[in-house]
């Protein structure tokens, strides 16, 4: 029963916030209720994760049921979601005061976290698919929030890509439902040789469909197009969670399908694995290249997400324990880092109104602490030790080298390094121009608007600082995380 609470509570609270008239007028009660629910959510999640167990919620038919179960992967994703959601919630309090119709944002914000928890806890493919689609629908209002033409078009694009991806995946689900006895997640897969005899080709095709389909949410080529369109138009806190956590839902879905339903052994060495690696590597390179070319900061970060989430996809596609460790640790690290970056970008926009990188020259005089956190996160994303990105990239590359996938085993690390160089190229200019604008630099705008030393409020700076510190500390002391993931890897591979 306890498993139901983290899912249902925020959804009910969100509906209440959307429906209640009092929340439209009284900002204090809106903020109070939202934060209280987020704290409660964190507590409930912690309780649910420690008590564990499984729960049958609703039996649709004999073969299809909606049920929850907690394993180590759920723990990892759910804990990450609850913690980050709370921090971004705190940040939103200050950020959203600059926007209209806050109750709508907070309402959907609460609903989405409930849906995400449901996704994390799902015990079989059907449940996961239900919550996956729900997540698309409920997160759509976050993209649409500004209600400008660009936002609506971006929202539609987001919807179309997600739905198209989900339908691709649905084909795979139909095939598997017809083939396997049960679609409950089982480490190592549910298929036996007898079930798929004579249908190997179809199995592989449906596996690729599901990878590409769920990969749409993770921003994997060719269905990555929604990401750079949808993220920049959403409010910064929404783009942060879209980029840092919603994309990870795609990753989770792929993990569940490949490692818990189909089984990694059935894909190892097949053409599906090669295609998957190729797609992931292409995305890695393409994302960072386009980010390097992109002048608008938030869009640049969105392209960076395209690239970085495919680091995770690359790690998963190796189907080796070390690569798996690299992938899952990069899930955590990238989530923390990308939240820092997006929240910092939001703080910059709120304080100065600047959106393009070349406007931000001399930013170090305006908000040195924010820019410092941005820099820490940038170094982490590039993979400079001792920041966290380094650890995951180490595992990814050594996993690739020892994976025995032929040409990919060394082409993969090479692409990762070129991408790391590009990452440095697109993230560091902001730091450099911000802190070293030149000895005779004078920005009249900074003087006229009295921007110098104007850090954002503590509501914003606090979460940014905590996340940046996490990006550093997770890199210095990753041992407990890594050993947890290693134990998962030992089970599934």
């Amino acid at each position: 029963m306890i498993l139901l609470l983290p899912v249902v509570c925020p959804i009910l609270a969100g509906i209440l916030v959307l429906a209640g008239k009092v929340f439209r007028k009284d900002r204090k009660s809106l903020i109070g209720v939202s934060l209280a629910v987020l704290v409660l959510e964190a507590g409930l999640t912690a309780w649910a994760l420690t008590s564990g167990g499984s729960l049958l919620v609703w039996r649709l038919t004999k073969q299809m049921d909606v049920s929850f179960h907690v394993d180590d992967i759920s723990r990892l994703f759910a804990a990450l979601t609850a913690a980050v959601w709370l921090l971004v919630g705190i940040y939103s309090v200050a950020y959203m005061s600059h926007e209209e119709e806050e109750h709508r944002f907070f309402g959907y914000y609460l609903i989405v976290v409930g849906v995400l928890m449901g996704l994390n806890f799902s015990a079989n493919l059907i449940t996961m698919y239900v919550f996956f689609e729900l997540m698309t629908l409920t997160s759509l209002p976050l993209v649409l929030h500004e209600r400008s033409r660009a936002a609506v078009m971006a929202g539609l694009k987001y919807l179309f890509y997600s739905v198209a991806g989900a339908f691709l995946a649905l084909f795979g689900i139909f095939f598997l439902a017809g083939t396997a006895d049960s679609l409950a997640f089982t480490a190592g897969g549910v298929l036996t040789d007898g079930m798929i005899a004579g249908k190997e080709g179809l199995l592989l095709a449906s596996a690729l469909c599901m990878i590409v389909g769920f990969g749409a949410k993770a921003g994997m080529f060719p269905l990555h197009g929604w990401l750079p369109t949808a993220h920049p138009v959403a409010p910064a806190c929404a783009s942060a969670v879209l980029s840092g956590l919603i994309t990870k839902a795609g990753v989770l879905a792929v993990i569940r399908v490949v490692y818990f339903i189909i089984g990694p052994d059935r894909l190892r060495g097949t053409w599906v694995q090669s295609v998957w690696i190729l797609l992931a590597l292409m995305t890695v390179f393409m994302g960072s290249m386009l980010a390097y070319k992109e002048p608008v900061l938030k869009k640049r970060l969105a392209y960076s997400t395209v690239s970085q989430v495919s680091y995770v996809m690359f790690g998963l596609s190796l189907l080796s324990p070390v690569g798996f460790v690299g992938a899952l640790s990069h899930v955590v690290f990238h989530s923390v880092i990308k939240h820092t970056l997006f929240l910092a970008a939001g703080a910059i926009i709120v304080t100065t109104g600047w959106t393009r990188v070349e406007q931000m020259r001399g930013l170090g005089r305006v908000m040195p602490l924010t820019l410092g956190c941005y820099t820490a996160a940038s170094l982490a994303l590039i993979g400079i030790p001792p920041f966290s990105g380094f650890v995951s990239k180490w595992y990814l590359a050594s996993g690739a080298l020892s994976s025995g996938t032929g040409i990919w085993s060394w082409a993969g690390p090479a692409v990762l390094l070129v991408s790391a160089l590009l990452t440095a190229g697109y993230l560091l200019p902001l730091t450099i121009q911000g802190f070293f604008p030149g000895h005779d630099f004078k920005n009249e705008e900074i003087e006229k608007r009295k921007l110098a030393g104007k850090e954002p409020s503590l509501w914003m700076l606090g979460p940014i600082g905590v996340l940046a510190a996490a990006a550093l500390l997770l890199g210095c002391f990753p041992q407990s995380l890594v050993s947890m993931i290693e134990s998962i890897a030992a089970i599934v591979l």
Partner: protein, 714 residues
């Protein structure tokens, strides 16, 4: 010295492994000394700068990172500290935020990030092949791989299967990539470009550290790769020696032509790193030839130590000049040192040390390096590598390298390059010394002389002179001091053979030094005084006094007269080729690559969207919008047209027509109205007929009832 080791598991994933042994002890002490001296000097030097807090934070952060590099016991730890060091020292270069500094800092960062990433790739490969990054273990493991064994010493099978090539090739690739990364930081030849740019613009204490010890962190890695991994590999030794000789010669050449005090010192650093690299390469070669390589090892190590100490003194002297004059061009600062004995003493100690003058420390290490080349050439002449032995040795080496490795003439030539570079070192140091302390400034000399009493504060003066006094102490009693330092350090280089006491001041050993000094004197007299100077021109002629002809206007010489000539002649062979390499070979393919791939990526980006658009345009085309509904009755058209005309007429007559107003034709109104009427008519018709039907049914029922009643009644 037996070391102690610290292993902190879990830091950054693989754990942090630190170790203390003789080499590390020496370099930790040097780091402490250098940072102490530079820190004390900074108090005066940085007094007038903004952002002092930023400087000091990164100053000490870099200290910690550098010590971390030298203490690291596995390459993973080395890499972590190496990257931290690169990024924190970036702030030094960019510190004063002038355009030059920012440009130089950009180059520095680019080289640092690129070098770091390439090195990381090397570490990945190395880890993949050897399964370990521990410095004590990679030596034996690499040896097992190079000898083509199936397993390592401990029975573990050699990994690297599934790689792109055999473990041996992978190992060489890893070594090459790591050499790239470490060599970039060391300032080794093709990657030295950041050094002459970055050093002049950084604050002087920072340049002293950049040049004196940060480059040594790179050398530390080169030693690891060369001496520990490929300790007795002839081909590798040849590569390192070749790079060393080129670096050494090119750096010295640049220094001879440079007209900026700190730039000259920076180029000199490049050159001295070349000396060290040569020593490292020779140690590989000697060990390959089956001889003890201690001579080369000790020479390389002592030259590292000496260069650190000497460059500390020289750059701080340059700092003393800069903090008074804020200029570094030799023309602007000439004569500054006159009447300043403390500065003169310090600079002279450094100059004599680096010039390899007997009784100063540089002489000792250069003699050892020279001897190592001589010994190798001697071995070849004796035929120690001839016949069967050569065939045996040749197996590990590509065949085309063998003639170079075994030809005594090549190594005679190398020896002369070495001696000639030593000569150039002497020449450019004499040039700097003469400029600073002998020449007079045509205009500001009185002003300079006036500064003599207060150009340096007591603290700076004290630490600088202390550091300078160390150099002759080391050099005058080499057996007491330098031999012991070398004993401490040589273990790290995996030196073999036994150290015999070398009579540094015997005639044979003095000969090499003296030849260099002779070449230097000739170069200074014949080349520098003749070609690199020209008579003073213009209004600055000071009443025909004797110094007029001695000091040329350097910039003129560089830009207008000699530069075109010199680029074709002596350095032209190097200078032009390397300039082209510098400028185009890297940047043009990079630009082409960037342009092409960004186009390709953009295409990929829009592929799916494009597909949808294409389909909308072709197969799934939208149906054409139905044309405006203009059927209707002819009456509606006629009436509507009339109303339109009347309205238009009325508007024209009354002048009420407004621009931009959208007019709806009255025809539509009429058609709409007509449709409405039709619709209503239909409704009415339908309801009427419905009524009729009901009526009929009712009538039929009534008739039937009547009939029934009628029949019953009958």
């Amino acid at each position: 010295m037996d070391g102690m080791e610290i292993l902190i598991p879990g830091i950054c994933g693989m754990g942090m492994h630190l170790k203390m042994d003789g080499f590390r002890l020496v370099y930790t002490l040097i780091a402490v000394l250098m940072w102490g001296v530079a820190g004390a000097f900074s108090r005066e030097y940085m007094a007038h700068y903004k952002n002092k807090a930023r400087y000091y934070v990164f100053f000490w952060a870099t200290f910690l990172a550098t010590v971390g590099v030298f203490l690291s016991a596995d390459l993973y730890t080395t890499f972590i500290f190496f990257e931290i060091m690169s990024f924190t020292s970036y702030v030094w270069v960019a510190f004063d935020e002038k355009t030059d500094s920012l440009r130089a800092a950009e180059t520095y960062l680019a080289v640092a990030v690129l070098g770091g990433m390439v090195m990381l790739m090397g570490l990945f490969l190395l880890h993949n092949v050897l399964g370990t990054l521990n410095m004590d273990e990679i030596g034996p493991a690499a040896k097992a791989v190079l000898e083509g064994k199936e397993t390592f010493g401990n029975g573990q099978a050699i990994c690297g299967a599934g790689g792109f090539a055999s473990p041996k090739v992978q190992l060489y690739t890893a070594g090459g990539l790591m050499l790239f990364g470490f060599g970039a930081k060391a300032g080794c030849f093709p990657l030295h470009i950041w050094l002459p740019k970055a050093h002049p613009v950084a604050p002087a204490p920072a340049s002293a550290l950049l040049s004196g010890i940060l480059t040594k962190a790179g050398v530390f890695g080169v030693i690891l790769v060369s001496c520990v991994m490929f300790g007795n590999d002839g081909g590798w030794g040849l590569l390192i020696t070749g790079l060393g000789l080129v670096t050494m010669f090119l750096g010295a050449l640049l220094a001879v032509f440079s007209v900026n005090l700190k730039r000259t010192l920076a180029c000199s650093s490049v050159s001295q790193i070349g000396f060290i690299m040569t020593g490292i390469g020779m140690s590989c070669l000697l060990s390959w030839a089956g001889e003890g390589n201690l001579l080369a090892v000790r020479g390389a190590f002592l030259h590292m130590v000496n260069h650190s100490l000497i460059k500390l003194v020289l750059f701080l002297c340059a700092g003393a000049v800069f903090m008074n004059l804020h200029q570094l061009e030799l023309n602007d600062i000439r004569g500054f040192g006159r009447g300043k004995p403390a500065l003169c003493f310090c600079f002279l100690m450094g100059a004599l040390g680096i010039g390899g003058i007997p009784l100063w420390n540089g002489y000792v290490s250069k003699t050892l390096l020279h001897e190592s080349i001589v010994e190798y050439a001697h071995l070849l002449e004796e035929g120690a590598l001839a016949g069967a032995k050569a065939a045996e040795m040749g197996q590990g080496v590509p065949a085309m390298l063998l003639p170079i490795l075994t030809n005594p003439a090549v190594w005679k030539a190398a020896e002369w390059v070495f001696l000639f570079t030593g000569g150039m070192t002497v020449a450019y140091m004499v040039k700097l010394f003469v400029a600073l302390f002998v020449d007079r400034h045509p205009v500001r000399q009185a002003e300079f002389d006036e500064m003599s009493s207060h150009y340096m504060k007591p603290l700076s003066r004290f630490v600088l002179m202390g550091a300078a006094a160390l150099l002759p102490v080391l050099g005058a009693a080499p057996h007491l001091t330098m031999d012991r330092i070398a004993d401490l350090g040589q273990g790290f280089f995996q030196g073999t053979g036994h150290a015999h006491v070398i009579a540094f001041f015997s005639l044979t050993n003095l000969k090499g030094g003296l030849i260099s000094i002779g070449i230097g004197a000739v170069l200074y007299g014949a080349v520098i005084r003749q070609f690199l100077m020209k008579p003073e021109t213009g209004a600055e002629k000071d009443g025909g006094r004797c110094y007029v002809n001695r000091w040329p206007s350097w910039l003129d010489l560089e830009n207008l007269v000699y530069r075109p000539v010199l680029q074709v002649a002596l350095p032209g062979i190097c200078g032009a080729v390397f300039g082209v390499l510098d400028r185009y070979v890297i940047s043009v393919p990079l630009k082409v690559f960037m342009a092409a791939s960004s186009v390709a990526c953009r295409a990929m980006d829009h592929m799916t969207d494009g597909l949808v658009v294409l389909m909308r345009k072709t197969v799934c085309r939208q149906l054409p919008e139905p044309k405006a509904h203009l059927e209707g009755n002819w009456l509606a058209h006629v009436l509507g047209g009339m109303v339109d005309g009347i309205r238009l007429l009325w508007e024209k007559v009354s002048g009420k027509r407004r621009e931009g107003q959208v007019r709806i034709s009255a025809v539509h109104h009429f058609i709409e109205r007509e449709k409405q009427m039709k619709h209503t008519g239909v409704l009415v018709e339908q309801s009427f007929s419905f009524g009729l039907i009901l009526f009929c049914i009712g009538l039929c029922l009534t008739l039937g009832y009547l009939l029934a009643v009628f029949y019953q009644g009958m």
